[in-house]
């Protein structure tokens, strides 16, 4: 049976890992390779590298980081942040990424997901969404934000999810900004609504404070995978502890990752 995935997200700035509380204020969490190796040893199911500043100089650093990581850790790698064109997607895939996560550019160029999926296959195109609960005329709306959560788009989250699926995205990462970095739990309601809407996997992001939050989003939130940064980077919970907790509560997770030497004959 398909295991639920636990995915640490490494927010990368100038080749270092940082992760902010509530999106804007960042703290240093170590070198990327150090983090990648640590997470592989702990049994992370996948790694996400997220280039938070996404400038051109930074993109070259990200390519470098990705290419080094892919020589050292043998697990799925996703890269996001600053992906604007088909050429960016190609560059990341050829630098060792298995999946490329597209967020702002999917809004600015509403054919990018479709063209990328046709060219490289749905399996490597991830639609990442920064969603926010906003009040408009006394009614709550779920709205898509871009530019690292700074700019509202007026786009409804559920419409955006349907379009992403129709255009051939292979996976959706839903980051709910109201919850992000608060460690008060994922937005279960929005995550479940998105997951019920589409038949592609939905990865929950934003708000993990402890393994119980992950349990909740993988059950009530109907997510296929839980992404988190702060709770892992600063050593509050290891991935092993988290997976053991989920396993004890009856969730199928991959536990056979112990690093043993490879037998050569």
């Amino acid at each position: 049976m398909l295991a639920k995935r636990i995915i640490p997200c490494l927010d990368v700035d100038k080749g270092r890992v940082v992760k902010g509380i509530k999106f804007f204020d960042h703290r240093d969490a170590g070198s990327v390779e150090e983090c990648a190796r640590r997470y592989e040893q702990q049994g992370a199911d996948e790694l996400v590298f997220y280039d938070i500043t996404a400038s051109h100089e930074n993109r070259d650093l990200t390519v470098n980081v990705l290419s080094k990581a892919s020589e050292q850790v043998f697990m799925p790698l996703t890269v996001g942040g600053g992906i604007r064109t088909i050429d960016d997607v190609r560059l990341m895939l050829s630098s060792g990424a298995d999946k490329v996560s597209i967020n702002t550019a999917a809004v600015l160029d509403q054919n990018l997901i479709k063209r990328s999926a046709l060219r490289f296959g749905s399996q490597c195109i991830v639609l990442a969404i920064d969603a926010n609960r906003v009040m408009k005329d006394g009614i709550e709306k779920w709205e898509v934000f871009i530019n690292g959560g700074r700019k509202p788009t007026g786009i409804d989250v559920m419409n955006w999810v349907r379009k992403g699926r129709a255009d051939g995205a292979g996976e959706i990462v839903l980051n709910v900004m109201n919850a992000d970095g608060t460690k008060k739990g994922y937005d279960l309601e929005m995550t479940a609504a998105v997951s019920e809407e589409v038949d592609i996997p939905v990865v929950a992001s934003g708000g993990a404070g402890d393994p119980e939050d992950m349990y909740q989003v993988l059950t009530r939130g109907k997510a296929e995978a839980a992404l988190a940064a702060s709770i892992f980077h600063f050593g509050q919970y290891s991935i092993q502890q988290t997976k053991q907790y989920l396993h004890n509560k009856g969730i199928v997770v991959r536990l056979d990752y112990q690093v043993q030497p490879i037998s050569r004959n």
């Binding site: 049976m1 295991a3 298995d98 996997p201 296929e224 056979d256 490879i262 037998s263």
Partner: protein, 206 residues
């Protein structure tokens, strides 16, 4: 020398690095002559079946691949490299494959499945292997090991004796095959951490 065929479909970098990591003598190859010269062949690949098979024919690699398998050379297909070995794929129409393994390639269809609400396509993530036929690729790999998958289509061989492992995702599907010198996996050993590296080491030492 193990030759990894580069025909422009997907991430060869990881396959190359994973083989190097286990100490194998490995090279990227791009021509029929190089396929003939290599001791073992790896056919990786992600993306569309139609593009892949067309490219293999255009670059005149298809005949060389068929001949290398026939000659008894050890061969490893990965993901699309498994599906391409079959007679026919129903991915976006109907397309002829290399015809090395009798059978077809079908899409997961959960439209009438009792658990259709929770079964996602693509099948992405770590799933376990149920081993069938004592395949040497899985020496030192425990039954039930988790490996990494990312695909929407799966193979249905006519002859069930080629089935090396099966995996459960809504249905029990064929996750790898083995026939004599021929090995092919739907999952990605190069992305499956220690378990996958062990398989590549096993292939290298065959």
């Amino acid at each position: 020398m193990i030759g990894i065929i580069d025909y422009g479909m997907g991430n060869l970098h990881s396959v190359l690095k994973a083989f190097e990591h286990v100490g194998a003598d490995v090279e990227i190859i791009t021509s029929a002559a190089q396929i003939d010269a290599a001791d073992k062949i790896v056919l990786p690949g992600v993306g569309a079946f139609q593009d892949a098979i067309r490219t293999l024919h255009e670059k005149e690699l298809a005949a060389a691949i068929i001949e290398s398998v026939r000659s008894g050379k050890c061969f490893l297909g990965i993901c699309l490299g498994l599906q391409l070995l079959f007679d026919v794929s129903f991915e976006d129409g109907e397309h002829q494959g290399l015809g090395i393994i009798p059978g077809k390639v079908k899409r997961f269809d959960f439209s009438t499945h009792p658990h259709k609400d929770i079964l996602k396509i693509p099948h992405i993530g770590w799933n376990s292997l149920k081993m069938r036929n004592g395949c040497p690729l899985y020496r030192e790999v425990a039954d039930g090991s988790f490996v990494y998958f990312v695909h929407s289509y799966y193979v249905v061989p006519d002859d069930s004796s080629v089935i090396a492992t099966t995996t459960e995702h809504g249905i029990e599907f064929v996750s790898s095959i083995h026939r004599e010198n021929l090995f092919a996996t739907q999952f990605h050993p190069e992305k499956s951490q220690r378990v996958g590296l062990q398989m590549l080491a096993n292939f290298a030492s065959l």
